[in-house]
Protein backbone atom coordinates (compact mmCIF):
# COMPACT_ATOMS: atom_id res chain seq x y z
CA UNK A 1 0.00 0.00 0.00
CA UNK A 2 2.79 2.46 0.86
CA UNK A 3 4.33 2.04 -2.60
CA UNK A 4 1.22 3.41 -4.35
CA UNK A 5 1.09 6.95 -5.68
CA UNK A 6 -0.76 9.59 -3.69
CA UNK A 7 -3.44 9.70 -6.41
CA UNK A 8 -3.95 5.92 -6.08
CA UNK A 9 -4.13 6.20 -2.29
CA UNK A 10 -6.71 8.97 -2.64
CA UNK A 11 -8.79 6.80 -4.99
CA UNK A 12 -8.73 3.90 -2.52
CA UNK A 13 -9.81 6.23 0.27
CA UNK A 14 -12.72 7.48 -1.84
CA UNK A 15 -13.72 3.91 -2.75
CA UNK A 16 -13.67 2.96 0.92
CA UNK A 17 -11.02 0.27 0.34
CA UNK A 18 -8.82 1.79 3.02
CA UNK A 19 -9.19 4.32 5.82
CA UNK A 20 -6.93 7.27 6.40
CA UNK A 21 -6.12 5.85 9.84
CA UNK A 22 -4.91 2.57 8.31
CA UNK A 23 -2.95 4.40 5.61
CA UNK A 24 -1.37 6.74 8.15
CA UNK A 25 -0.54 3.83 10.46
CA UNK A 26 1.11 1.95 7.58
CA UNK A 27 3.40 4.93 6.97
CA UNK A 28 4.13 5.35 10.69
CA UNK A 29 5.08 1.66 10.78
CA UNK A 30 7.34 2.14 7.77
CA UNK A 31 9.00 5.12 9.46
CA UNK A 32 9.54 3.03 12.60
CA UNK A 33 11.16 0.25 10.60
CA UNK A 34 13.45 2.22 8.23
CA UNK A 35 14.06 5.66 9.66
CA UNK A 36 16.82 4.60 12.02
CA UNK A 37 18.80 3.95 8.82
CA UNK A 38 17.52 6.82 6.67
CA UNK A 39 17.02 9.53 9.31
CA UNK A 40 14.59 11.52 7.18
CA UNK A 41 12.55 12.72 10.15
CA UNK A 42 13.45 15.03 13.01
CA UNK A 43 10.05 14.66 14.63
CA UNK A 44 7.26 12.15 14.06
CA UNK A 45 3.84 13.32 15.27
CA UNK A 46 2.24 9.88 15.71
CA UNK A 47 -0.61 11.06 17.89
CA UNK A 48 -1.43 14.17 15.88
CA UNK A 49 -1.30 12.35 12.54
CA UNK A 50 -3.60 9.55 13.71
CA UNK A 51 -6.03 12.03 15.26
CA UNK A 52 -6.12 14.04 12.05
CA UNK A 53 -6.66 10.83 10.03
CA UNK A 54 -9.49 9.69 12.31
CA UNK A 55 -11.22 13.06 11.96
CA UNK A 56 -10.98 12.82 8.16
CA UNK A 57 -12.38 9.27 8.17
CA UNK A 58 -15.28 10.54 10.28
CA UNK A 59 -15.97 13.37 7.83
CA UNK A 60 -15.90 10.93 4.95
CA UNK A 61 -18.24 8.55 6.76
CA UNK A 62 -20.69 11.43 7.15
CA UNK A 63 -20.56 11.97 3.39
CA UNK A 64 -18.83 15.36 3.50
CA UNK A 65 -17.27 16.58 0.28
CA UNK A 66 -13.51 16.29 0.69
CA UNK A 67 -10.52 17.61 -1.28
CA UNK A 68 -8.71 15.37 -3.81
CA UNK A 69 -5.86 14.44 -1.43
CA UNK A 70 -7.96 14.16 1.74
CA UNK A 71 -6.60 11.48 4.05
CA UNK A 72 -3.25 11.04 2.28
CA UNK A 73 -0.17 11.44 4.53
CA UNK A 74 2.66 13.93 3.98
CA UNK A 75 6.11 14.76 5.38
CA UNK A 76 6.78 18.43 6.19
CA UNK A 77 10.18 20.09 5.91
CA UNK A 78 11.20 21.39 9.33
CA UNK A 79 11.47 24.96 8.03
CA UNK A 80 7.66 25.31 8.07
CA UNK A 81 5.99 26.52 11.24
CA UNK A 82 3.33 24.11 12.49
CA UNK A 83 1.41 25.11 15.60
CA UNK A 84 2.53 23.24 18.69
CA UNK A 85 4.95 20.98 16.79
CA UNK A 86 8.75 21.33 17.19
CA UNK A 87 10.18 23.43 14.35
CA UNK A 88 13.97 23.53 14.38
CA UNK A 89 15.11 24.34 10.82
CA UNK A 90 17.86 21.79 11.54
CA UNK A 91 19.39 24.26 14.01
CA UNK A 92 20.30 24.11 17.69
CA UNK A 93 19.19 27.71 18.08
CA UNK A 94 15.55 26.61 17.63
CA UNK A 95 15.75 23.31 19.51
CA UNK A 96 12.53 22.77 21.45
CA UNK A 97 10.71 25.74 19.89
CA UNK A 98 7.04 25.08 19.24
CA UNK A 99 5.49 27.76 17.03
CA UNK A 100 2.30 29.37 18.36
CA UNK A 101 0.86 29.54 14.83
CA UNK A 102 0.58 27.65 11.54
CA UNK A 103 2.36 28.68 8.36
CA UNK A 104 -0.04 29.26 5.47
CA UNK A 105 1.25 26.11 3.76
CA UNK A 106 0.36 24.10 6.88
CA UNK A 107 -3.03 25.83 7.13
CA UNK A 108 -3.68 24.88 3.48
CA UNK A 109 -2.61 21.28 4.11
CA UNK A 110 -4.99 21.07 7.05
CA UNK A 111 -7.78 22.71 5.06
CA UNK A 112 -7.27 20.05 2.37
CA UNK A 113 -7.25 17.29 5.01
CA UNK A 114 -3.74 16.14 4.15
CA UNK A 115 -2.32 14.23 7.12
CA UNK A 116 0.97 15.62 8.47
CA UNK A 117 3.19 12.75 9.65
CA UNK A 118 6.05 14.83 11.00
CA UNK A 119 8.95 17.14 10.28
CA UNK A 120 11.83 16.27 7.96
CA UNK A 121 15.56 16.86 8.28
CA UNK A 122 17.33 19.64 6.41
CA UNK A 123 20.56 21.58 6.19
CA UNK A 124 20.52 24.18 8.94
CA UNK A 125 18.25 27.06 7.86
CA UNK A 126 18.19 25.47 4.38
CA UNK A 127 21.84 26.31 3.74
CA UNK A 128 23.44 23.37 2.00
CA UNK A 129 23.12 20.74 -0.71
CA UNK A 130 23.56 17.53 1.27
CA UNK A 131 21.64 17.74 4.59
CA UNK A 132 25.04 17.28 6.27
CA UNK A 133 24.69 20.77 7.75
CA UNK A 134 21.79 19.66 9.97
CA UNK A 135 22.67 20.06 13.65
CA UNK A 136 20.87 16.74 14.19
CA UNK A 137 23.01 14.58 11.92
CA UNK A 138 22.77 13.79 8.20
CA UNK A 139 19.99 12.03 6.29
CA UNK A 140 20.99 9.00 4.21
CA UNK A 141 20.03 8.42 0.57
CA UNK A 142 17.74 5.35 0.31
CA UNK A 143 19.54 4.38 -2.94
CA UNK A 144 22.83 4.05 -1.05
CA UNK A 145 22.91 4.84 2.65
CA UNK A 146 26.52 6.04 2.46
CA UNK A 147 25.46 8.84 0.10
CA UNK A 148 23.77 12.22 0.53
CA UNK A 149 20.03 12.63 -0.25
CA UNK A 150 20.62 16.17 -1.53
CA UNK A 151 19.85 19.34 0.31
CA UNK A 152 18.68 21.34 1.83
CA UNK A 153 15.48 19.26 1.67
CA UNK A 154 17.18 15.87 1.96
CA UNK A 155 14.78 14.67 4.62
CA UNK A 156 11.75 15.24 2.39
CA UNK A 157 13.31 13.59 -0.68
CA UNK A 158 14.60 10.62 1.33
CA UNK A 159 11.20 10.13 2.98
CA UNK A 160 9.61 9.82 -0.48
CA UNK A 161 12.28 7.48 -1.86
CA UNK A 162 12.10 5.30 1.26
CA UNK A 163 8.27 5.10 1.02
CA UNK A 164 7.91 6.77 4.41
CA UNK A 165 5.47 9.26 2.83
CA UNK A 166 3.92 9.64 -0.64
CA UNK A 167 4.01 13.44 -0.49
CA UNK A 168 6.32 16.02 1.06
CA UNK A 169 6.80 19.76 1.30
CA UNK A 170 10.11 21.34 0.39
CA UNK A 171 11.48 24.84 0.03
CA UNK A 172 13.80 25.97 -2.74
CA UNK A 173 16.13 28.96 -2.47
CA UNK A 174 18.82 27.78 -4.90
CA UNK A 175 17.71 24.23 -5.68
CA UNK A 176 16.73 22.74 -2.31
CA UNK A 177 13.65 21.02 -3.75
CA UNK A 178 15.00 20.07 -7.19
CA UNK A 179 18.50 18.81 -6.35
CA UNK A 180 17.29 16.44 -3.58
CA UNK A 181 14.60 15.17 -6.00
CA UNK A 182 17.25 14.55 -8.66
CA UNK A 183 19.60 12.52 -6.47
CA UNK A 184 16.82 10.39 -4.93
CA UNK A 185 14.84 9.59 -8.09
CA UNK A 186 11.80 11.61 -7.00
CA UNK A 187 9.87 14.63 -8.33
CA UNK A 188 10.28 18.14 -6.93
CA UNK A 189 8.79 21.42 -8.05
CA UNK A 190 9.74 25.00 -7.27
CA UNK A 191 6.67 27.01 -8.28
CA UNK A 192 6.86 30.56 -9.61
CA UNK A 193 8.09 32.90 -6.86
CA UNK A 194 4.98 34.20 -5.13
CA UNK A 195 2.88 31.21 -6.20
CA UNK A 196 2.92 29.63 -2.73
CA UNK A 197 2.80 31.76 0.43
CA UNK A 198 5.99 32.27 2.44
CA UNK A 199 4.08 33.12 5.63
CA UNK A 200 5.47 30.88 8.36
CA UNK A 201 8.34 29.63 6.21
CA UNK A 202 11.39 30.50 8.32
CA UNK A 203 13.21 32.96 6.05
CA UNK A 204 16.68 32.32 4.65
CA UNK A 205 16.79 34.54 1.57
CA UNK A 206 13.43 36.22 1.17
CA UNK A 207 13.73 37.22 -2.49
CA UNK A 208 14.62 33.63 -3.47
CA UNK A 209 12.78 31.32 -1.01
CA UNK A 210 9.81 29.40 -2.44
CA UNK A 211 7.93 26.43 -0.99
CA UNK A 212 6.75 23.68 -3.28
CA UNK A 213 5.53 20.10 -3.67
CA UNK A 214 7.68 16.95 -3.57
CA UNK A 215 6.28 13.57 -4.65
CA UNK A 216 7.05 10.36 -6.55
CA UNK A 217 5.02 11.27 -9.67
CA UNK A 218 4.31 14.42 -11.65
CA UNK A 219 0.55 14.11 -11.08
CA UNK A 220 1.00 13.75 -7.31
CA UNK A 221 3.18 16.88 -7.31
CA UNK A 222 0.49 18.73 -9.28
CA UNK A 223 -2.26 17.69 -6.85
CA UNK A 224 -0.17 18.91 -3.91
CA UNK A 225 0.80 22.09 -5.80
CA UNK A 226 -2.86 23.05 -6.20
CA UNK A 227 -3.53 22.27 -2.53
CA UNK A 228 -0.85 24.64 -1.20
CA UNK A 229 -0.76 27.42 -3.83
CA UNK A 230 -2.76 30.61 -4.06
CA UNK A 231 -2.87 34.19 -2.94
CA UNK A 232 -2.24 34.91 0.74
CA UNK A 233 -2.83 38.35 2.26
CA UNK A 234 -0.28 37.46 4.95
CA UNK A 235 2.57 37.44 2.40
CA UNK A 236 3.05 40.76 0.61
CA UNK A 237 4.96 39.00 -2.20
CA UNK A 238 2.17 36.50 -2.84
CA UNK A 239 0.81 36.77 -6.39
CA UNK A 240 -2.87 37.68 -6.53
CA UNK A 241 -3.85 35.62 -9.57
CA UNK A 242 -5.47 32.24 -10.23
CA UNK A 243 -3.30 29.18 -9.54
CA UNK A 244 -1.92 27.75 -12.82
CA UNK A 245 -3.91 24.67 -13.97
CA UNK A 246 -1.16 22.23 -13.11
CA UNK A 247 -3.36 19.17 -12.43
CA UNK A 248 -5.04 19.45 -15.84
CA UNK A 249 -1.59 19.79 -17.44
CA UNK A 250 -0.20 16.79 -15.55
CA UNK A 251 -3.19 14.68 -16.57
CA UNK A 252 -2.95 15.55 -20.26
CA UNK A 253 0.85 15.46 -20.62
CA UNK A 254 0.50 16.83 -24.12
CA UNK A 255 3.67 18.29 -25.68
CA UNK A 256 2.69 18.21 -29.35
CA UNK A 257 4.00 21.34 -31.02
CA UNK A 258 5.67 22.62 -27.86
CA UNK A 259 9.10 24.14 -28.21
CA UNK A 260 11.61 22.82 -25.70
CA UNK A 261 14.78 24.89 -25.36
CA UNK A 262 18.00 23.16 -24.34
CA UNK A 263 20.16 25.62 -22.42
CA UNK A 264 23.59 25.32 -23.99
CA UNK A 265 25.41 26.61 -20.89
CA UNK A 266 23.80 24.06 -18.52
CA UNK A 267 25.38 20.95 -19.98
CA UNK A 268 28.77 19.77 -21.16
CA UNK A 269 31.98 20.25 -19.18
CA UNK A 270 31.63 19.45 -15.50
CA UNK A 271 28.54 17.27 -16.05
CA UNK A 272 29.00 13.56 -15.37
CA UNK A 273 28.83 11.31 -18.49
CA UNK A 274 25.87 9.32 -17.18
CA UNK A 275 23.99 12.53 -16.39
CA UNK A 276 24.50 13.75 -19.96
CA UNK A 277 23.49 10.40 -21.48
CA UNK A 278 20.19 10.32 -19.57
CA UNK A 279 19.55 13.94 -20.55
CA UNK A 280 20.05 13.24 -24.28
CA UNK A 281 17.82 10.18 -24.04
CA UNK A 282 15.03 12.23 -22.42
CA UNK A 283 15.28 14.83 -25.20
CA UNK A 284 14.81 12.07 -27.80
CA UNK A 285 11.72 10.80 -25.98
CA UNK A 286 10.23 14.30 -25.85
CA UNK A 287 10.91 14.76 -29.57
CA UNK A 288 9.16 11.44 -30.24
CA UNK A 289 6.20 12.65 -28.18
CA UNK A 290 5.83 15.54 -30.59
CA UNK A 291 7.88 18.36 -29.08
CA UNK A 292 10.32 20.43 -31.06
CA UNK A 293 13.79 20.61 -29.51
CA UNK A 294 15.68 23.86 -30.02
CA UNK A 295 18.94 25.17 -28.57
CA UNK A 296 19.01 28.39 -26.59
CA UNK A 297 21.87 30.31 -25.07
CA UNK A 298 22.02 32.06 -21.70
CA UNK A 299 25.49 33.58 -21.59
CA UNK A 300 25.14 35.14 -18.15
CA UNK A 301 24.23 31.91 -16.34
CA UNK A 302 27.90 31.31 -15.68
CA UNK A 303 27.78 34.21 -13.23
CA UNK A 304 24.66 32.97 -11.45
CA UNK A 305 26.50 30.93 -8.83
CA UNK A 306 28.74 33.85 -7.86
CA UNK A 307 25.78 36.23 -7.67
CA UNK A 308 23.78 33.73 -5.63
CA UNK A 309 26.56 33.36 -3.05
CA UNK A 310 26.41 37.11 -2.50
CA UNK A 311 22.65 37.67 -2.60
CA UNK A 312 21.61 34.69 -0.45
CA UNK A 313 24.22 35.31 2.29
CA UNK A 314 23.41 39.03 2.31
CA UNK A 315 19.72 38.38 2.81
CA UNK A 316 20.47 35.63 5.35
CA UNK A 317 22.71 37.88 7.43
CA UNK A 318 19.74 40.21 7.75
CA UNK A 319 17.04 37.55 8.19
CA UNK A 320 18.93 35.56 10.82
CA UNK A 321 19.43 38.67 12.96
CA UNK A 322 16.07 37.74 14.45
CA UNK A 323 17.71 34.92 16.38
CA UNK A 324 18.82 37.19 19.19
CA UNK A 325 17.99 35.02 22.25
CA UNK A 326 15.39 37.50 23.47
CA UNK A 327 11.89 36.28 22.56
CA UNK A 328 12.21 32.61 21.61
CA UNK A 329 14.78 29.92 20.96
CA UNK A 330 18.09 29.26 22.67
CA UNK A 331 19.56 31.66 25.26
CA UNK A 332 23.12 31.14 26.49
CA UNK A 333 25.18 33.04 29.07
CA UNK A 334 22.28 34.81 30.81
CA UNK A 335 24.09 35.14 34.14
CA UNK A 336 23.79 38.00 36.62
CA UNK A 337 25.17 41.18 35.13
CA UNK A 338 25.59 39.77 31.59
CA UNK A 339 24.70 42.29 28.90
CA UNK A 340 22.18 41.60 26.14
CA UNK A 341 25.01 41.89 23.64
CA UNK A 342 27.15 39.24 25.31
CA UNK A 343 24.13 36.91 25.56
CA UNK A 344 23.46 37.38 21.83
CA UNK A 345 27.10 36.76 20.96
CA UNK A 346 27.32 33.59 23.03
CA UNK A 347 23.94 32.26 21.94
CA UNK A 348 24.68 32.71 18.24
CA UNK A 349 28.13 31.15 18.65
CA UNK A 350 26.65 28.02 20.24
CA UNK A 351 23.36 27.95 18.32
CA UNK A 352 24.57 28.32 14.72
CA UNK A 353 26.61 25.75 12.80
CA UNK A 354 29.65 26.34 10.64
CA UNK A 355 27.93 26.96 7.28
CA UNK A 356 25.37 29.35 8.75
CA UNK A 357 28.12 31.38 10.41
CA UNK A 358 30.12 31.36 7.19
CA UNK A 359 27.20 32.80 5.25
CA UNK A 360 26.26 35.37 7.88
CA UNK A 361 29.83 36.68 7.88
CA UNK A 362 30.00 36.67 4.07
CA UNK A 363 26.69 38.52 3.88
CA UNK A 364 27.75 41.03 6.53
CA UNK A 365 30.86 41.72 4.48
CA UNK A 366 29.02 41.98 1.15
CA UNK A 367 26.62 44.53 2.63
CA UNK A 368 29.21 46.56 4.52
CA UNK A 369 29.90 50.13 3.56
CA UNK A 370 32.73 50.39 1.06
CA UNK A 371 32.09 46.89 -0.34
CA UNK A 372 28.36 47.07 -1.04
CA UNK A 373 28.64 48.22 -4.67
CA UNK A 374 31.44 45.80 -5.51
CA UNK A 375 29.67 42.75 -4.13
CA UNK A 376 25.95 42.96 -3.36
CA UNK A 377 25.36 45.71 -5.90
CA UNK A 378 27.16 43.83 -8.67
CA UNK A 379 25.31 40.62 -7.81
CA UNK A 380 22.00 42.44 -8.21
CA UNK A 381 23.07 43.54 -11.68
CA UNK A 382 23.92 39.95 -12.59
CA UNK A 383 20.41 39.10 -11.45
CA UNK A 384 19.08 41.50 -14.08
CA UNK A 385 21.26 39.91 -16.77
CA UNK A 386 20.09 36.42 -15.87
CA UNK A 387 16.45 37.50 -16.01
CA UNK A 388 17.11 39.04 -19.44
CA UNK A 389 18.70 35.78 -20.60
CA UNK A 390 15.54 33.94 -19.56
CA UNK A 391 13.34 36.48 -21.35
CA UNK A 392 15.23 35.98 -24.63
CA UNK A 393 15.29 32.21 -24.22
CA UNK A 394 11.54 32.06 -23.55
CA UNK A 395 10.98 34.06 -26.73
CA UNK A 396 12.35 31.02 -28.58
CA UNK A 397 10.95 28.19 -26.46
CA UNK A 398 7.91 27.40 -24.29
CA UNK A 399 10.02 25.72 -21.61
CA UNK A 400 13.75 25.34 -21.03
CA UNK A 401 15.46 22.13 -19.97
CA UNK A 402 18.78 20.95 -18.52
CA UNK A 403 20.13 18.26 -16.24
CA UNK A 404 19.11 19.19 -12.66
CA UNK A 405 22.59 18.65 -11.22
CA UNK A 406 26.02 18.04 -12.67
CA UNK A 407 26.48 14.73 -10.82
CA UNK A 408 24.63 11.94 -9.07
CA UNK A 409 24.62 11.66 -5.25
CA UNK A 410 28.07 11.90 -3.72
CA UNK A 411 29.32 10.23 -0.55
CA UNK A 412 28.50 11.68 2.86
CA UNK A 413 31.59 13.60 3.99
CA UNK A 414 33.09 13.85 0.50
CA UNK A 415 32.57 17.59 0.06
CA UNK A 416 31.89 18.61 3.65
CA UNK A 417 35.13 20.57 4.00
CA UNK A 418 35.11 22.28 0.63
CA UNK A 419 32.37 24.93 0.52
CA UNK A 420 33.02 25.85 -3.12
CA UNK A 421 32.78 22.24 -4.35
CA UNK A 422 29.52 21.95 -2.43
CA UNK A 423 28.14 25.16 -3.95
CA UNK A 424 28.74 23.78 -7.49
CA UNK A 425 25.90 21.26 -7.00
CA UNK A 426 23.46 24.10 -7.52
CA UNK A 427 24.93 25.46 -10.72
CA UNK A 428 21.96 24.46 -12.90
CA UNK A 429 19.20 25.18 -10.38
CA UNK A 430 20.19 28.66 -9.15
CA UNK A 431 19.27 30.70 -12.27
CA UNK A 432 15.59 29.76 -11.79
CA UNK A 433 15.52 31.30 -8.29
CA UNK A 434 17.31 34.44 -9.45
CA UNK A 435 14.55 35.12 -11.99
CA UNK A 436 11.67 33.87 -9.84
CA UNK A 437 10.42 31.45 -12.51
CA UNK A 438 9.19 27.86 -12.07
CA UNK A 439 11.43 24.77 -12.08
CA UNK A 440 10.80 21.03 -11.84
CA UNK A 441 13.07 18.03 -11.48
CA UNK A 442 11.92 14.53 -12.36
CA UNK A 443 13.86 11.27 -12.62
CA UNK A 444 15.33 10.47 -16.04
CA UNK A 445 16.95 7.15 -15.16
CA UNK A 446 20.15 5.86 -13.60
CA UNK A 447 23.67 6.88 -14.60
CA UNK A 448 25.47 3.96 -16.25
CA UNK A 449 28.66 4.40 -14.26
CA UNK A 450 27.15 4.29 -10.74
CA UNK A 451 23.49 3.16 -11.06
CA UNK A 452 22.32 6.26 -9.21
CA UNK A 453 19.35 8.48 -10.14
CA UNK A 454 19.71 11.40 -12.53
CA UNK A 455 17.36 14.40 -12.61
CA UNK A 456 15.88 16.20 -15.61
CA UNK A 457 15.07 19.88 -15.03
CA UNK A 458 12.22 21.76 -16.74
CA UNK A 459 11.91 25.54 -16.38
CA UNK A 460 8.80 27.56 -17.20
CA UNK A 461 8.09 31.31 -17.35
CA UNK A 462 6.51 33.22 -14.47
CA UNK A 463 3.02 31.82 -13.66
CA UNK A 464 3.17 29.38 -16.58
CA UNK A 465 3.85 26.51 -14.17
CA UNK A 466 1.42 24.29 -16.08
CA UNK A 467 3.92 24.04 -18.94
CA UNK A 468 6.52 22.21 -16.86
CA UNK A 469 3.83 19.79 -15.69
CA UNK A 470 2.80 19.03 -19.30
CA UNK A 471 6.39 18.32 -20.29
CA UNK A 472 7.12 16.45 -17.06
CA UNK A 473 4.07 14.22 -17.47
CA UNK A 474 4.93 13.47 -21.11
CA UNK A 475 8.50 12.53 -20.26
CA UNK A 476 7.45 10.52 -17.23
CA UNK A 477 4.98 8.49 -19.33
CA UNK A 478 7.56 7.84 -22.05
CA UNK A 479 10.18 6.75 -19.53
CA UNK A 480 7.73 4.55 -17.64
CA UNK A 481 6.80 2.66 -20.80
CA UNK A 482 10.51 2.29 -21.60
CA UNK A 483 11.36 0.98 -18.10
CA UNK A 484 8.21 -1.06 -17.56
CA UNK A 485 8.13 -0.06 -13.88
CA UNK A 486 8.77 3.04 -11.76
CA UNK A 487 12.46 3.87 -11.29
CA UNK A 488 12.18 3.51 -7.51
CA UNK A 489 11.50 -0.22 -8.00
CA UNK A 490 15.22 -0.48 -8.74
CA UNK A 491 16.21 1.00 -5.38
CA UNK A 492 17.53 -1.42 -2.77
CA UNK A 493 15.08 -2.87 -0.25
CA UNK A 494 15.33 -1.09 3.08
CA UNK A 495 14.58 -2.30 6.56
CA UNK A 496 15.92 -5.80 5.99
CA UNK A 497 17.65 -7.89 8.64
CA UNK A 498 20.00 -5.72 10.64
Amino acid sequence: MIRSTAAEMAAKLVAGEVTSVALTQAHLDRIASVDTDVHAFLHVDTEGALAQAAAIDAKRAKGEKLSPLAGVPLALKDVMAQKGIPTTCGSKILEGWRPPYDSTVVANLKKNDIVILGKTNMDEFAMGSSTENSAYGPTHNPWDLTRIPGGSGGGSSAALAAFEAPLAIGTDTGGSIRQPAAVTGTVGVKPTYGGVSRFGLVAFSSSLDQAGPCARTVLDAALLHEAIAGHDPKDSTSINAPVPQVVTAAKSGDVKGMKIGVVKELNGDGYQAGVRARFEESLELLAKAGAEIVEVSAPNFEYALAAYYLIAPSECSSNLARFDAMRYGLRVGDVDGASAESVMNLTREVGFGKEVKRRIILGTYALSSGYYDAYYGSAQKVRTLITQDFTSAFAKADVLVSPTCPTTAFKIGEKANDPLAMYLNDIATIPVNMAGIGGMSLPSGLADEDDLPVGFQIMSPVMKDERMYSVGAALEAALLSKWGAPLLDKAPVLGGAK
Partner: protein, 98 residues
Protein backbone atom coordinates in the same frame (compact mmCIF):
# COMPACT_ATOMS: atom_id res chain seq x y z
CA UNK B 1 42.93 38.88 -5.17
CA UNK B 2 40.44 39.60 -2.43
CA UNK B 3 41.12 38.51 1.10
CA UNK B 4 39.96 39.04 4.65
CA UNK B 5 42.40 39.05 7.54
CA UNK B 6 41.75 37.39 10.87
CA UNK B 7 41.06 40.85 12.30
CA UNK B 8 38.62 41.68 9.48
CA UNK B 9 36.68 38.51 10.26
CA UNK B 10 36.72 39.37 13.98
CA UNK B 11 35.22 42.78 13.20
CA UNK B 12 32.50 41.25 11.01
CA UNK B 13 31.73 38.64 13.67
CA UNK B 14 31.31 41.48 16.15
CA UNK B 15 28.89 43.26 13.81
CA UNK B 16 26.99 40.01 13.27
CA UNK B 17 26.91 39.35 17.04
CA UNK B 18 28.68 36.01 16.92
CA UNK B 19 31.36 35.19 19.47
CA UNK B 20 34.14 33.30 17.67
CA UNK B 21 37.11 31.28 18.82
CA UNK B 22 40.59 32.07 17.52
CA UNK B 23 40.45 28.83 15.53
CA UNK B 24 37.18 29.82 13.82
CA UNK B 25 38.47 33.29 12.95
CA UNK B 26 41.60 31.92 11.31
CA UNK B 27 39.73 29.17 9.46
CA UNK B 28 37.14 31.62 8.08
CA UNK B 29 39.82 34.08 7.06
CA UNK B 30 41.54 31.32 5.03
CA UNK B 31 38.28 30.16 3.43
CA UNK B 32 37.27 33.68 2.50
CA UNK B 33 40.29 34.16 0.28
CA UNK B 34 38.95 31.39 -1.96
CA UNK B 35 35.25 32.26 -1.64
CA UNK B 36 35.71 35.99 -2.30
CA UNK B 37 37.73 35.27 -5.42
CA UNK B 38 34.92 33.08 -6.70
CA UNK B 39 32.09 35.52 -5.96
CA UNK B 40 34.04 38.58 -7.18
CA UNK B 41 33.42 37.29 -10.72
CA UNK B 42 30.12 39.18 -10.68
CA UNK B 43 32.15 42.34 -11.23
CA UNK B 44 33.19 41.13 -14.71
CA UNK B 45 29.72 41.79 -16.18
CA UNK B 46 28.18 44.28 -13.74
CA UNK B 47 28.68 47.38 -15.88
CA UNK B 48 27.39 50.83 -15.01
CA UNK B 49 24.70 50.47 -17.70
CA UNK B 50 23.11 47.41 -16.05
CA UNK B 51 20.18 48.02 -13.71
CA UNK B 52 20.12 46.24 -10.35
CA UNK B 53 17.35 43.74 -9.52
CA UNK B 54 16.64 43.28 -5.84
CA UNK B 55 13.56 41.16 -6.22
CA UNK B 56 11.88 38.99 -8.88
CA UNK B 57 8.56 40.82 -8.55
CA UNK B 58 7.78 44.51 -8.80
CA UNK B 59 7.32 45.22 -5.09
CA UNK B 60 4.69 47.58 -3.84
CA UNK B 61 3.08 48.16 -0.50
CA UNK B 62 0.15 45.90 0.24
CA UNK B 63 -2.57 47.21 2.51
CA UNK B 64 -5.52 45.54 4.14
CA UNK B 65 -8.68 46.96 5.57
CA UNK B 66 -8.19 48.48 9.02
CA UNK B 67 -10.27 45.96 10.93
CA UNK B 68 -9.43 44.16 14.13
CA UNK B 69 -8.64 40.47 13.62
CA UNK B 70 -7.70 37.91 16.27
CA UNK B 71 -4.00 37.70 17.07
CA UNK B 72 -1.81 35.66 19.42
CA UNK B 73 -2.75 35.78 23.10
CA UNK B 74 -0.04 37.04 25.46
CA UNK B 75 0.36 33.47 26.65
CA UNK B 76 0.92 32.22 23.08
CA UNK B 77 3.29 35.06 22.26
CA UNK B 78 5.35 34.26 25.35
CA UNK B 79 5.23 30.50 24.86
CA UNK B 80 8.75 30.32 23.43
CA UNK B 81 10.32 32.96 25.66
CA UNK B 82 13.65 31.93 27.24
CA UNK B 83 12.58 33.93 30.31
CA UNK B 84 9.48 35.91 31.21
CA UNK B 85 8.20 38.08 34.00
CA UNK B 86 4.82 39.74 34.55
CA UNK B 87 3.56 38.77 31.08
CA UNK B 88 6.63 40.29 29.41
CA UNK B 89 9.85 38.97 27.85
CA UNK B 90 12.59 39.12 30.48
CA UNK B 91 15.85 40.11 28.77
CA UNK B 92 19.40 40.71 29.93
CA UNK B 93 20.61 44.23 30.70
CA UNK B 94 20.51 46.38 27.55
CA UNK B 95 22.02 49.66 28.77
CA UNK B 96 25.30 50.14 30.68
CA UNK B 97 25.43 50.75 34.46
CA UNK B 98 26.19 54.46 34.37
Amino acid sequence: MSSLSRDDVAKLAGLARIEMSEEELVALSNEFTVILDAVARVQEVAGADVEATSHPLPLRNVFRADVVVPSLTPQEALSGAPAQEEQRFRVPQILGEE
